[in-house]
């Protein structure tokens, strides 16, 4: 009975996160449009696009791995969700989090990307292959500052459990990692820019460069799955950063507000700065952010 209830709440949480992800991307697109003096899309346009993609009548397949690519990507997104505590202090909204979930989540973030690489590779489109190799190269560089930041806060709180890290930050802003370990926060927030794929690091998916990179061959339901995953992933990654650095959330209202603000940080930077090429972004990521990450660890050890 306990388990059934638990699974019910996990599914409900997934449903809320998915819808918040779709609405959030609509709101963000609207804000970007207003910045450009346009009316912009309808807020519910992401839903319509999703329904449209699921309603395409014919699909082309290139083989088994081509099918599995989006599935792997989706399981990467849902995998992160499954082990992420959403609301602090609530047994039911903490999903399947356990001691050590932080490592598993870092693994799942890469897992989806790899599955996508295999699928897009089998698509046979040269642009997919170029896109995926650039994407993986950049993603590896993006992971490095984040990993250093995670090591730093693992040393700081002496745990790898997200729930315990959130618990240690309760009691006001002065306890947030943002204040207690600013170097780790800065390194991780730079890495967040890359993970969200907005401007300085958006070259992988940029329509102007090579036709949209990895998903070039994906259409219809395949693309629908990728879009579903994107909606989940954007929110859940923002929730991860919120949990690690900004004190977590004690109810859904705070979760929605904080995840929006964390996500908006990447949109804000994306609107202000132009795009890096891959050969510029990787060296940039490997210099300053990595240095900040190392300082964050060194300060704790000394």
């Amino acid at each position: 009975m306990e388990l059934v209830k638990k699974i019910g709440f996990v599914l409900l949480g997934l449903f809320i996160i998915l819808n918040w992800g779709l609405i959030m991307s609509g709101i963000i697109r609207k804000i970007i449009a207003r910045l450009g003096m346009r009316r912009g899309i309808k807020v519910f346009q992401p839903y319509i696009n999703l329904i449209k993609n699921y309603s395409i009548r014919s699909q082309i397949s290139h083989g088994v791995m081509f099918y599995l690519g989006p599935v792997f990507r989706l399981s990467g997104g849902i995998g992160i969700f499954l082990f992420m505590p959403l609301i602090h202090g609530s047994e039911l909204w903490s999903n399947f989090s356990f001691t050590g979930d932080l490592i598993l989540i870092a693994y799942f973030a890469f897992f989806g990307m790899l599955g996508m690489a295999l699928g897009a590779g089998e698509g046979g489109h040269p642009y997919s292959a170029i896109g995926i190799s650039r994407g993986l190269a950049q993603f590896t560089a993006i992971e490095l500052p984040l990993t250093l930041a995670i090591i730093s806060i693992a040393i700081q709180y002496n745990t790898l459990s997200i729930s315990e890290i959130v618990a240690a930050q309760q009691g006001g802003i002065q306890n947030w990692t943002l204040v207690t370990n600013p170097f780790a926060t800065v390194a991780a927030m730079i890495s967040f820019l890359g993970a969200m794929g907005h401007s300085p690091f958006s070259v992988v998916m940029a329509p102007q460069e090579i036709p949209i990179g990895p998903p070039t061959e994906y259409h219809g339901t395949f693309l629908g799955i990728l879009q579903t995953n994107r909606a989940i992933l954007h929110v859940i990654e923002a929730v991860l950063y919120m949990n690690l650095f900004f004190g977590g959330a004690t109810n859904w209202g705070i979760l929605i507000l904080k995840s929006f603000l964390v996500y908006f940080w990447s949109v804000f930077v994306g609107m202000v700065f132009p795009r890096f090429r891959v050969d510029q972004s990787i060296p940039w990521l490997l210099k300053l952010p990595v240095l900040i990450g190392i300082i964050a660890i060194a300060l704790l050890i000394i």
């Binding site: 449009a33 346009r38 346009q45 319509i48 329904i51 395409i56 009548r57 061959e217 259409h219």
Partner: protein
């Protein structure tokens, strides 16, 4: 007929049918890793030769709902053919802002549902248009822009352009003018939306039903046909 004579004849046939193919697409033998010779016919071996099928629409309220979603989310293939394509970029500028109608550009034919033929079609371009159109997935819609696509326009007697677009691919909406302004294109989008919502925009199925007629017309114009019959 002697053997050598026959061989010669076969060689001649091969040369004529391979004349337009790129070297890597001609029939040839490759040496395998173990030294064995493998004969490949790229057009049959590397490309899908299956014939396309008519995809029946769903019935009743489900199809209505889907048609509403398809109409409200028109993804346009970013492909410009004639001078009319210069009118497409302004559509996405703050002044005309086609995004508010659910119109967006996609850079790949796989993901897009609307093909705007933006003007005259040179014979060379027609081939690319056919390839791109066939790679788009059912349902797909075609908007023909400018008088060149209706009857040839001012290129009516050109040696190098086609006159009537709907002899080569099915067209859903024509937008007349030389060249039509972005407002006219926006109204064309709205006309297309009405058509989709009424369930009358079945160009993709029509193309497959009358494939032979379309193919015959296309091959009449494209003399150097060097691709599979249907480009999946």
């Amino acid at each position: 007929m002697s053997l050598s004579n026959k061989n010669e004849q076969e060689k001649n046939i091969r040369v004529t049918e391979d004349k337009f193919l790129a070297p890597e697409n001609r029939k040839h033998t490759v040496i395998g890793p173990g030294g064995e010779e493998i004969f490949v016919d790229p057009l049959n071996d590397y490309f899908c030769t299956e014939k396309p099928k008519v995809e029946k629409p769903y019935k009743g309220i489900l199809e209505k709902f889907y048609n509403w979603a398809r109409a409200e989310s028109l993804w346009v293939l970013g492909y410009g053919t004639g001078c009319g394509s210069i009118e497409l970029p302004p559509l996405f500028s703050p002044r005309f802002d086609a995004y508010r109608f659910g119109v967006a550009m996609r850079p790949t034919p796989r993901q897009s549902g609307v093909f705007i033929i933006s003007g005259y079609l040179a014979v060379k371009t027609l081939k690319r248009v056919i390839r791109s159109y066939e790679q788009m997935q059912n349902p797909k819609y075609v908007i023909a822009l400018g008088s060149c696509t209706i009857n040839g326009g001012m290129y009516w007697d050109s040696y190098n352009t086609i006159n009537r677009l709907d002899h080569y691919i099915p067209v859903d909406v024509y937008i007349a003018g030389c060249m039509p302004r972005p407002e006219a294109i926006l109204s064309g989008f709205n006309r297309l939306k009405e058509k989709i919502k009424e369930g009358r925009a079945e160009g993709a199925n029509e193309y497959i039903e009358k494939l032979e007629w379309y193919k015959a017309n296309q091959k009449k114009i494209i003399k150097d046909w060097n691709m599979p019959d249907y480009n999946w």
